[in-house]
Each structure stands twice: as C-alpha cells, then as structure tokens.
Symmetry: D2
Subunit: 233 residues, 4 copies
C-alpha cells in the first residue's frame, strides 16, 4: 500500500523537490505551507497529493491540516519537517518577537507536526519493519552557533536536540528519526547564481531523504551532513 | 573596583555556591530567583549582595531586576545564567505548556538576561582586558538529546546554540561567553545521598566558573565539561 | 563503463556484503584480504572480481595488490577501507606491539590503500561528476574513546581524522570521501545470536555504502552513523 | 609534599610556560625534550627541576628519562604531554616517513610517556583526592581534520582518542585525564608578530593547565578549548 508522506514547509525549493521525489516513489503526499499559493500548483502537478495550509507554530491549524491529509490520503507514515524561520540578528539587536518567531517555527512547529504525525505511525507499526520516518531539515547552524544570528542558532540547535531525543525514544518503537545537516546554500529554483557548483541541488538532497525512508531498521542513520563538493568547510 | 556579578537562577544548590564563591573573590552579587524565599537568606549572609525576584521568562520583570541590581551594586560585569526548567516527558506525552515552559526559562530567559546584562559590559569595555563574562550552566542533555525529555532536549540544545553564537559575536568585543556542560548530578545541599562520590560538589563547579571569569582574553574557553571522577560516561 | 571498486579488508561479514552489493550494481570488484582463504571463494562467486592478498600495513604488498586489480579490472574508482585491527587492552596493559598493530592496520593501512587508489581517481576525473569515492568503515570508538581500548581508540580516531582531512582536500578535485560510524554490532554470518534485532545487517550497511557512491556531487555526505533501531545509544 | 610534574615536549613556547608556572606553584619539574639545548637553560633557571632528553617515540629513552626524573625528584604526579610533530602534506604528497613521524611523536610518544608516568600515580593514589593528572595539548586539528595535513590530522585525532579512552578508564582510579584544544596560534617567544592580540599567550594557557591540576575530583574536566578573544572560529 502506498505510504503517505507529509512535507511541512513547502516552498519552491527543497520542499518541492522532496514532494516530487516522494510522489515519484509512489507516496501520497500532503503539502503543508503557510500560504496556498506556495503549494496549490504543486498539488495539481502531482497525483495523490493534497495542499494544506497552516503556520506550523499554530497548533490547531496544524492538527486540522493533518486531519485533512489523513482523510484525503490515509494515515501518515512519513513526516519531513522542513519549515524554518530565521532570526538574522545579533545578541542585542534581535527583538523578542523575531526571536520567538524562530522558536515558534523551528521548535514549537516541529513539536506540533510531530505530535500530529507520530501517533499514526505507532498505531500502524508492523511487527517487523519501519513504522514511520521523521526527517528534520537542519543547517550548518544546527551544529555551529552562528555569529549574529542568536535566534536562528537557538532554534536550529533546539530542533536538533528534539531529533536526538526522539530518535532514542522512538527508535525501539519502530519510528526512524533522522536529522540532515544541509551545510551550504541550496540552488534557488531560478538557478540564476554565479556558480551553480557552489550550491546543493535540491533534487540531490531529496535523493538522500528518500534513502533515509528506505533504510532497513537494522541500520538506521540519525544524522548525516550534505554539502557541495567544492564547499569550503 | 569590585566587579558586579548577577547569578540568574539561584536555589540552594549550584547558584548559591557560585554566589558565595564570587562574593568571596570580592564581587558584588545580584541574586535573581523566582521567589524571595530562595534568595533573601543568602543575600543577608553575603556582603554587597542584593536579592531580586523575577521569572527569567518575564522580560519586564527581568529588566526591572537588573535595574535594581545596577542601582544597588553598579553596572553588571558578569552574568551566570543558571536558570533551568525541565520538561521530562516524551514526544507524545509532553504538553505544549510544559514544552513552552522549558523554552521560556532556558532559552527565552537566557535572552532576557543577556539583553539586560551585556550592554553594561560593552559600555565599560576596557582597551585591553575582559569587558565582561557570560556563563551558561549546561547539562549532559545540552550535547546529547535525552530519551523521554523532548522539551528539555530542545531547551538545553537551544541555549548552547545561543552561547556559541554569542561567543563568536561578542568575543571580539571583549565579552567572554562560556558554556559549561555539567555531566552528572549535583550533590544536594542536604547531602543525603547513598554515595556522595557520584555527585558534583557545587563548590567545585563554582571554582571552575570563577576560573572562567579570571581567564586572560588571549586564551578563553568556550566550552568545558565537568563530571565526578567515578562518572560512567 | 563499469566502475572498479576495491574493498580492503574482506572477511565473511561487512566486506563480503559490500563486495556482493557493489558487484550487483555492476562494479568490478577487487577483494583485498590478509589471507587467500578469506576471499577466494567470494571472488569465484562474483563475476568480474579478483582476490588479492596483502596486509594493509605492508606498503609494498598493498601497491602490488592494487597493481594486480588495475591490470585485471581497470583503474580504481571506489575504495572501501574496511580493514581494522583492535587493541582491546587498557592504558597500562597494552603492549607496544599490540598498539602498533592497531595503528598499522587502521591508520597506516588506510594511507597505503588511499595512496594506491586515489591517483587513479584524479587521473580519470570527469569535468562534471564524481571522480571517485573513498569510504572508511568507522565504529562507535571512532567518535567516543573507549575505556580499556586505548590502541583501538587511537586508531579509530586517527582514521576519522584522515577522512575529514581528505574530504576537505579532495572534494574540490571530485573525490568523495565519507566516514561511516557503525554504532553497534554487525550480525555475524552464522547469525547464531540471541536476538538478531540487536545487530546491524551487513547487507543493510552495504545499501548505505552504495548510496554514498551514488550521491550527486552537489550534495555529498562526509559522515553518517548507522545503528539498529533498538540500539541504546 | 611537593608534586612532581613532567612536561614532555619542552621548547621555548608553551612547554616552558607550563614548566615555569608549575614550578611557581611548588612542583618539582622534569623537563623532557629532544635536545639538551632546549631545556638545560630552563632547568638551571628553575629550582627543583631536571632536564632529560629523549625522543618521545623512543620507548627505551623515555623510560630512562622518567627513571632519571623519578630518582631526582620523586615519583611522578603530573604529566603534561606537549610533544608534537606535524606532517603538513596532503594525501598524495605525504611520505610514509613523514606520516610515521607524526604518529610516532603524537600517538606512540603519548603512549610511551603515559606508560612511564601513570604507574607512579596509581601507586600513590590517596583514598580521597586526585592520584595524578595527565594533560594532552591538542590543537584545532584534534577536532577538525585539516585539509592538506593528513598525517597531522591522523595524529592529533589519535591522541584525542587516547585521552578520552584513558579518562574513562582511569578516572575511577583517581587519575584525571584532560585534553586541551588550543584553537589558534601561540604567541612566539620573540613576540615579533603583526598583532599579538591574535595569538594565545602561553602563560595564559599555562594558567588553565594549572587549574586542571587543581580541580577537585568531584568536578573534573575532560576537554576544554582555548582561543584568543578575537579568533574567528
């Protein structure tokens, strides 16, 4: 039976690539974004996809969105948490509101999506095999606090801590939790950059996400990093 | 001239040890806690100490508390951020309120205290020497996501991300930011434990905190771990 | 054209699984082991495979073995460095000879194989695409010094340092260097264990190795961990 | 009673600062270097110091040197392993000899010194308190494999693995093992650099080393980093 994957945080970049790739592998795909305009065209393009809108930090809206996906496509097997909000200000410059927005989206938003998706996974857990997969999209800042971005650093570290905690708790229940450190810039959809070699191709990232879904539960990855071959790191 | 240190999060354990040690080294000490009863006796015990009460997550209360310290003891040179609230529930059990409380205290609380203290440090920065010191009290969970404690994992990782971000931003300005990973249980004040050898003595931790304050700015530590010699880690 | 892969350190476990998987993907496979008996039957089983024998710590023998592979199967595109020797003694118990053996196999052996394989990769580097892949088999001890195994800790940390150094140097040249942390026990070939769920299936590990070979160079992984879903870590 | 400290790897820089500081704290100091000229003047300068010469990679010479120290100053309480040899060549350029030299000094040399010093510590272990201290001088490359320095990366990672392994094994026996990551350049003795602010003052590093010796065993540090306040890291 087809798996149902929810991609939370779908814009024209990585989220869309993941959705397309997972659909091509036979998944039903729920596309969650803040605005309809980001996801309607993609939902139309894909078979067995639905677009739902919610700010991930809004718990009720997230629950409603997952209910909608569940009714349309069946219970959730895979969650890709790809939503992110940055706070690019330094220690004294950042406003409490901007700082909170980063926490709301990256950390509280992750909790909202996880609490909406994981019960489905546990309910359908097979005797033998993967009950479900949760993938967090991380960044360089997830593992290296970034100068001048105290809110983003708090938020990305925080989400990584959640992923590690969940992996230890849920692994034995059959739920695979993984955290991917995207260590570089993602090629923008228009591709109008000086040197595309310096960017991660979102389709290539989506390949690695799919491999995580496919991993046998005897050899699961909690964390991997991804970067362009020319990246100076 | 005597330095003024604020210890945010003073209970009978580590916070009190740090306050006593810093006072013994000649610091004026501001003792910040949620309730007066936790800090009044200690403020009475020490010379040049004031007790102030605030929930660190309450921005206005924190600002008022620092104003009070500033008026009583002078501008702030050292901040020890020792407040912590845990959320000891797993992924599906944790309530949004408990999860938020962990973030409010450990992460947003850190921001509130930092934004109240660091401007003093920058204003008084000497040409040569340390302008100020900020020490975060971390835990094992700061570097290892803990099974069954998703909120605490998010919060302690988040605070560590802030410390790293701040260290990179503020180091060149003369402010020393350090994060201490307390990897074990702290000996409770009553000391009624089966084997005290298995616990960190809070006075010994306070020694290391003081050494961080004293470090020459040509050789600053961002992170160190502390654990009992018998700890299995 | 078929790629040529050398698996250095082939026993009946992980090395054999990697060789079989890479052969199934169309690779020519060079099987390098210390004794012929470990690899002859596997070489007979696979098409386009040759068995070569060398102690990886013996530089001349390694060079001769790679020459043999090169003549039989063409220039080398992929190296899986899977050889390992442990020194399971503590600080005072370990003999200099046992300590050296661990370094010779894990560290110097890696250098010998790398220096024999990488020139082929650089020579055949395409304008666009991967010039070659080097995968190191790591262990829990690669990232966590192990009590009572000082030599193994030195050796596994050392090899990881080499992998990181090489990744930074050779990535821009098109050579993908990856280090895989195998965080658990590998299921023995006979499979006579109390609970197979607690072990990594070597075929599942080989899947992840193959995915590393297939990664697009815009999104390469330097390090990933692998462990059984029930692992307590 | 005065403690006896051996500093292995004494040149005019960090080793000399550590020796001077430890002597000033009342230690007897054994100064171990490859050539007499590096240590004789310092031994003359200090009270209760002896100079001994050995290549740390030469096991017999190391044993003889420690015997000499032991006879002159008493059994060894503290070892600072500060010897280092770099191999600044890349993957294909490094010669086996240069690679071995890095391993011989940093890794095998550490084993030789540790096996000569630790038995003294264990023999004199008090019921309560520190039996001895071993400090490894690490570098940025200890935690981040360095492009174009494969041998140095192998060696510095390897020594760090040893330190972690030893800390877990020997901590419960009362021996404190610590690893210090020096993340920046050390101010050269002549001090003729463009901007001294960009360098670590070796006397400031020695302060932190001494604090490690003084730590109460209820709160030991395994690892700390040190860098100039202006360091870009």
């Amino acid at each position: 039976m087809a798996r149902t994957a929810v991609v939370a945080g779908v814009g024209p970049g990585l989220g869309a690539s993941v959705a397309r790739r997972f659909a091509a592998e036979g998944c039903n795909v729920g596309l969650l974004a803040r605005s309809e305009s980001s996801v309607e065209p993609l939902a139309d393009e894909l078979d067995d996809a639905v677009a739902v809108t919610a700010d991930v930090g809004d718990r009720d809206a997230v629950e409603a969105a997952f209910d909608h996906v569940r009714e349309a496509l069946g219970s959730v097997d895979v969650l890709v948490f790809n939503a992110s909000a940055a706070a690019w200000e330094g220690t004294l410059e950042v406003s409490p509101a901007a700082f909170d927005r980063a926490l709301d989206t990256n950390v509280r938003g992750a909790l909202n999506c996880v609490q909406a998706a994981v019960p489905d996974m546990l309910e359908n857990a097979p005797e033998d095999g993967t009950a479900g997969t949760v993938i967090f999209t991380g960044a360089t800042t997830s593992v290296r606090g970034r100068e001048g971005a105290i809110g983003f650093s708090a938020a990305k570290f925080g989400a990584r801590g959640m992923a590690e905690s969940m992996a230890r708790e849920l692994g034995p229940e059959g739920v695979h939790v993984a955290h991917v450190v995207i260590d570089g810039g993602i090629l923008p959809p228009e591709g109008d950059v000086a040197d595309p070699e310096e960017y991660l191709d979102p389709d290539a990232i989506a390949d690695s996400y799919w491999q995580l879904v496919e991993q046998d539960r005897s050899a699961w990855t909690l964390e991997l990093d991804l970067r362009p071959h020319v990246e100076n790191f």
